[in-house]
């Protein structure tokens, strides 16, 4: 049985960039643990020698030819940006 503790819940929330208030973390941890418990049940199914199914129909990965068929629409790309300047998206400063 694997359980998610409060620290793990905090970390997962941070990785997903979802703000979770401290008082909500115990509840989140409990819910995530519940999901893992369900997964544990699925783990009981014997899948030895079973190929993972990636599609319900026997489809081949679709390909495109190498050619420029898209782009050149800076205005549309930037249209929904909260802030755009001189053709760039402008975001709060991020420095490594």
């Amino acid at each position: 049985m694997s359980t998610i503790d409060i620290e793990t819940a905090r970390r997962v929330a941070k990785l997903a960039r979802i703000r979770v208030a401290d008082e909500s973390l115990p509840q989140l941890a409990e819910k995530l643990s519940g999901i893992l418990d369900f997964m544990e049940q699925l783990n009981e199914v014997n899948v030895d020698g079973v190929e993972p199914m990636t599609s319900v129909t026997p489809m081949r990965l679709k390909r495109r030819q190498d050619g420029v068929t898209d782009g050149n629409m800076q205005d549309k790309i930037l249209k929904n940006a909260p802030d755009a300047r001189e053709g760039f998206f402008a975001v709060p400063k991020v420095v490594e």
Binding site: L15, L61, R63, M73, I77, F89, K93
Partner: protein
């Protein structure tokens, strides 16, 4: 038969306070695949475009947009794999590498962690005549590049350009078989050469089309051999990864600095932390890139938007049938076929354009060694002086071949050939016709040369006396005769005649 055997270079050894240390280096090369369009969209990959103009909705990760793979990227990756004698995986798959950063609008990079398209191969890295390292390739996978963040245009904001987002990359991962900074640079150079021969990456490091992540660790002598025997990494030291370098010089400096940093920690009784570092060329040091409290967690999983990638053996065979001659084979052929030295063959095969030019010269001039001399010394020297590329050479291979033909037949001397080259460079024209029109033919007629020698001797009795006492001075007469014949006399014939006439 040419001797192609070689021995491995000695590993770089750094003497520490407590004994010797050796370096162990593995590299991940990110090479932009040469294509028109991106890996999963129809937007252009052209460098230097207006910001955010080479962007399709799928690159900007607009909701509901789905990636469709560019088949030519796959072909280029397979071609590269074949060029590195690697196994091609007929079944591979795309995975998501999750991380947040403003220039990564999807919130993940589509890559191939679990099932790369190309498996194990190798690269022969020459360090000098008869000295070479075989560097094993672990894998090559195809992935998307990220966008570009610009931090210095505004004091409070970062500016984001998504033109690079989704540009196709090949990540070429080596085994830790590289043993020093010079080898690391030579490895990048060799890989770059092969990619350029294949036409799968232009190798432009300045534009970031070829970047290297370098894994560096240090160990005591003998430990590396234990690793090679067992492939057990526990024999090696803890490694640090230096990210994103696009200069051969910086790669070498960074490795050297990083090795010394690790040795200092270890000799101080400390422990090297496995981490990602950045090289700062201004300060000449590496520094930790991410805060230590938050270890990276990419949460890889198979991309549900993309089915597994299945390719057919017949398609791979078709690509194999169109492979160009690669640098190693070309160099060997130049050495065997034209009797060139290892050095000359290396210089001529460094860039495929140079090799093609040389071969076109040989086709006309019919003398490989002479052609190699002229291409390397006269042509390359002149191009370098003028700051021109081989493609811009005013002298064509046919013209230079013509010069060589005239030297070989004895029609012109080497000295006159240089004058002829100068005429071809500045005025152009057909070499044999120029020689004829301007009376540049070498005088091999002994009678004419004899006459010139007699005249010089008759006019300089004092010099004759000196030369007879000191035979070294006979050269003066040879020079005078060459001068009086406008450099057209055959120097060997002049020399012989001068010696005979002076009785030396």
């Amino acid at each position: 038969m040419l001797d192609l055997s070689f021995e491995a270079p000695k590993p770089k050894v750094i003497a520490g306070a407590t004994g010797d240390w050796e370096l162990v280096i593995g590299m991940e090369i990110h090479a932009q695949i040469s294509t028109q369009a991106k890996l999963f969209s129809g937007a252009s990959t052209t460098f230097g475009a207006e910001p955010n103009s080479n962007v399709a909705f799928v690159d900007a990760a607009m909701p509901g947009m789905l990636p469709v793979v560019n088949e030519f990227c796959l072909e280029q990756a397979v071609r590269t794999g074949l060029g590195l004698k690697a196994a091609i995986n007929l079944r591979s798959a795309f995975d998501r590498k999750n991380y947040f950063y403003p220039d990564n609008p999807q919130g993940y990079q589509i890559s191939q962690l679990y099932h790369p398209i190309v498996g194990e191969g190798e690269v022969l890295v020459e360090m000098g005549p008869g000295v070479a390292r075989v560097v094993r390739i672990e894998r090559i996978h195809v992935e998307q590049d990220a966008g570009k963040s610009i931090h210095d245009m505004d004091p409070n904001m970062s500016f984001i350009d998504l033109n690079r987002t989704g540009v196709p990359l090949m990540e070429i991962v080596s085994r830790p078989d590289i043993r020093g900074p010079e080898e690391a640079a030579a490895y990048v150079g060799k890989l770059r050469q092969i990619l350029r021969y294949l036409g799968t990456c232009d190798g432009n490091m300045q534009n970031g089309n070829l970047r290297a992540d370098v894994n560096v660790s240090v160990c005591r002598p003998g430990q590396y051999e234990k690793y090679q025997e067992t492939q057990d990494f526990s024999h090696l030291g803890t490694r640090c990864e230096i990210k994103n370098m696009n200069s051969m010089r910086f790669i070498q400096q960074a490795i050297d600095y990083e090795a010394r940093r690790q040795i200092a920690i270890l000799e101080d009784g400390g422990k090297v932390d496995q981490e990602t570092r950045l090289y700062d060329p201004d300060k000449g040091e590496t520094r930790s890139m991410r805060s230590k409290e938050e270890a990276q967690d990419y949460r890889y999983f198979p991309d549900p938007d993309l089915l597994p990638l299945e390719i057919e053996q017949g398609w791979v065979d078709d690509i194999a049938a169109t492979m160009p001659e690669l640098p190693d084979a070309k160099k060997t052929r130049f050495m065997e076929g034209f009797g060139l030295t290892d050095y000359d063959a290396s210089v001529l095969t460094a860039e495929v354009e140079n090799a093609d030019f040389f071969e076109a010269v040989v086709a006309v001039g019919e003398d490989g060694k002479l052609a190699a001399n002229w291409v390397i010394n006269e042509l390359f020297g002149r191009l370098k002086k003028e700051g021109q590329e081989i493609g811009e050479s005013p002298v064509s291979p046919a013209q230079l071949g013509g010069v060589i033909k005239l030297i070989k037949s004895g029609d012109i001397s080497g000295k006159i050939a240089k004058d002829l080259f100068e005429i071809l460079w500045t005025e152009g024209g057909e070499p044999a016709a120029i020689v004829e029109e301007r009376g540049m033919k070498q005088v091999t007629d002994t009678g004419a040369i004899e006459k010139a020698v007699d005249e010089i001797i008759a006019a300089n009795p004092a010099q004759v006396e000196k030369a007879q006492q000191n035979p070294k001075l006979a050269g003066w007469f040879v020079g005078q005769v060459m001068k009086s014949t406008g450099g057209k006399a055959n120097p060997a014939a002049v020399n012989a005649l001068v010696m005979a006439k002076l009785g030396l």
